[in-house]
Amino acid sequence: MSTPKTSLLCAAALTVMVPCLAQEAWAGNEPSRTVAQLPERIGKFEERAPAGPTRSSAAKVGDIDPAKAHFGVGQPATDMQIAGFNIDAMPDGRGLPPGQGSYAEGEEVFAERCAACHGADLEGNKDIGAPKLIGGRGTLTDAKPVKTVESYWPHASTLFDYVHRAMPMDSPGSLSADEVYAVSAYILGRADIISDDPGTTLDAESMAKVEMPNADGFVSDPRPDVRNKE
């Protein structure tokens, strides 16, 4: 029950403009919880205490000037803090992490971490919603196009980015950068987009140079494209 009391104390402190606002101190003292406490009862009529003003994490309130977006709220993000979240990779290679992995290593990673859903031959499994990863080139104009990494995805960086952030389904984000480079080399090798020589290796530099078969297959939104008449 120390939490609401602390917050009441801080609310009181705020009203007399005493800066007690260091986020680290606050978050560090916070016990972990699985639910919220019900609002405290206060006063003669046992009213429920209101939530009250929340705390700014800013170390100092500083000069307030709403017109210039100076609110004394929030705090600078350090490079280290950003690095902890900054996992995206872009087509030109920006964001791809250090590391490397080979087709042969990727074959092992795939067998261990991916094949259970996507199939030993990367053929996918419709019953569990795991898409086919390779094949389908030249089918995009067919009545039943086969959209895969090989036939449809315009950028190799997307493969790295998505596997790194969200795969495998049963343990998302658990593959190391080396493992993701390796499994990317394996998938792209199996798709004949890069060499399927076991020694073929991908890293940040080579990944950005991979040319995908459908790289030029995308156009920007031309709508409104249909003009109905009243």
Binding site: Q37, T141, T158
Partner: protein, 461 residues
């Protein structure tokens, strides 16, 4: 300490606790056959309105309601408690105030539910709003459609932060508490999944309006304008796109144009007057009025400013529209004008000829709905429907039209026109341009066939 630990001090005030404990004591005595005359602190007239007489007639049931407070009985629909139904509610006191614990519930006689489209994966799936039974323009938060790419995370807002970085002057991070200290804005807007109707391109597939159109919902969203945050961090020259990233198992990402971010984007922490529902992104969600649903990143944790789009999986492999020539359209972000008649609609049956009010919803990602027309003859003739206010930009708009069904076959359609003059197309017009493989962004006119026996079915007319 309360005598009975079921009535804890955190949940019950002293008066409520005394009342509940007294009821338990009365019930105990009744069940054990103890005499009325025996002295107890549960005497008649002890509290207003509750007499020994109505305890005898309805008291046990009332006590039962106390016992079940906070947990739904198995037979009650989700979101409801099962209370004893009174034969004549004017002849006995109703159930006790706050026996729901202080957070209300719907009637035990209301049963609308979201319905999950049977995707193969449960982790990446969607559920749809029961539009047929909706009223007005707001979707109850508990019925707002869902689309998850990696399940629904449970996040403690005290440990959640939003980080803004990339092409900015000063990267910053904000706690949820920080965001609540900033100037806020509230607005109503629809969110529609670009996959709404994806089963309906080739032939009528799903039977109900929930199945054909239930991936659109409207809420009032409250939060901080994204432009406020971007002004705080300062955009660098050349900033053109922002990556929005969620804190779910999919670490869901989309690239958003800076122009949209500066225009009307909101970092929302509230929906319909209370905190966001977990399945709607608690504690923070990006709201991009008029844009396709998957860009409204839930569980928002990071915004990275860049000069180019990031080309994430959800804007390349998915949510792109394959055209007949084999090219695919990308960043089709705005949801175009659309409407649907929600009553009468698929799988209903009109009991007999007579008066029916046709009603439905219209919306446009480009602005306000200017007009909705309704046809009862498959599009041969059209009649303007009344727009039931408020008519808000990028928001569901309710339309109504009185109609008399004569008992003859009919095909009901609605056609929306938005303030840009865009007219909702027919399906053949759409298919002529886009073919049958584009999956997303189906906004064609919907047809409901009324058979002579009153049966309403989904048809392509």
């Amino acid at each position: 300490m309360p005598k009975d630990k079921r009535f804890s001090g955190s949940r019950y005030g002293p008066a409520e606790r005394h009342m509940a404990e007294s009821l338990v004591e009365i019930e105990r005595r009744m069940l054990s056959g103890q005499s009325e005359e025996e002295d107890c602190d549960c005497k008649e007239g002890m509290f207003n309105g509750l007499t020994r007489r109505n305890i005898l007639t309805g008291g046990i049931a009332l006590g039962g309601a106390v016992f079940t407070a906070g947990q739904a009985a198995a037979d009650a629909p989700p979101g409801a408690f099962e209370y004893p139904v009174q034969p004549d509610p004017t002849k006995e006191q109703g159930r006790m105030i706050l026996d729901d614990g202080g957070y209300g519930s719907r009637s035990q006689f209301e049963n609308e539910l979201r319905w999950r489209y049977p995707t193969a994966s449960l982790d990446s799936s969607w559920s749809m709003t029961p539009l047929a039974s909706g009223h007005g323009i707001v979707t109850p938060s508990g019925l707002h459609f869902e689309r998850h790419h990696g399940g629904i995370p449970a996040i403690d807002p005290r440990t959640h932060e939003l980080i803004l970085h990339g092409m900015v002057d000063e990267p910053m991070r904000f706690t949820v508490d920080d965001l609540k200290r900033l100037p806020a804005v509230s607005r109503f807007c629809f969110i529609e999944c670009s996959g709404n109707g994806l089963t309906e391109w080739k032939e009528p597939t799903l039977r109900t309006v929930q199945g054909t159109h239930g991936l659109t919902s409207t809420s009032e969203w409250t939060g901080v304008r994204l432009s406020t945050l971007l002004e705080m961090v300062g955009l660098s020259d050349g900033a053109a796109w922002i990556l929005a990233e969620g804190s779910d198992a999919a670490v869901m990402t989309r690239s958003v144009p800076v122009d949209k971010a500066m225009d009307d984007a909101i970092v929302a922490y509230a929906q319909n007057g209370e905190a966001l529902r977990p399945e709607q992104g608690y504690p923070l969600r990006l709201v991009l009025p008029g844009f396709e649903g998957n860009t409204h990143i839930k569980w928002l944790r990071r915004l990275e400013v860049s000069d180019k789009p990031f080309m994430t999986r959800e804007e390349t492999s998915k949510y792109t529209d394959l055209m007949p020539d084999g090219t695919a359209r990308q960043f089709s972000l705005t949801m175009e004008a659309k409407s649907v008649i929600t009553f009468p609609s698929g799988a209903m049956k009109l009991p007999r000829p007579g008066f029916y009010e046709i009603t439905g919803l219209a919306w446009s990602g480009r602005g306000k709905i200017a007009r909705v027309e309704v046809s009862a003859d498959g599009g041969a003739t059209w009649q303007e429907a009344a727009l039931d206010g408020p008519v808000l930009p990028k928001c569901h708009t309710r339309f109504r039209l009185p109609w008399t069904w004569t008992g003859k076959e009919a095909v009901l359609q609605s056609r929306a026109v938005d303030e840009t003059g865009y007219v909702q197309p027919t399906l053949p017009e759409l298919v002529k341009v886009r073919g049958l493989k584009s999956v997303y962004h189906l906004n064609a006119i919907q047809s409901w066939h009324i058979a002579q026996d009153g049966e309403v079915t989904n048809v392509h007319a």
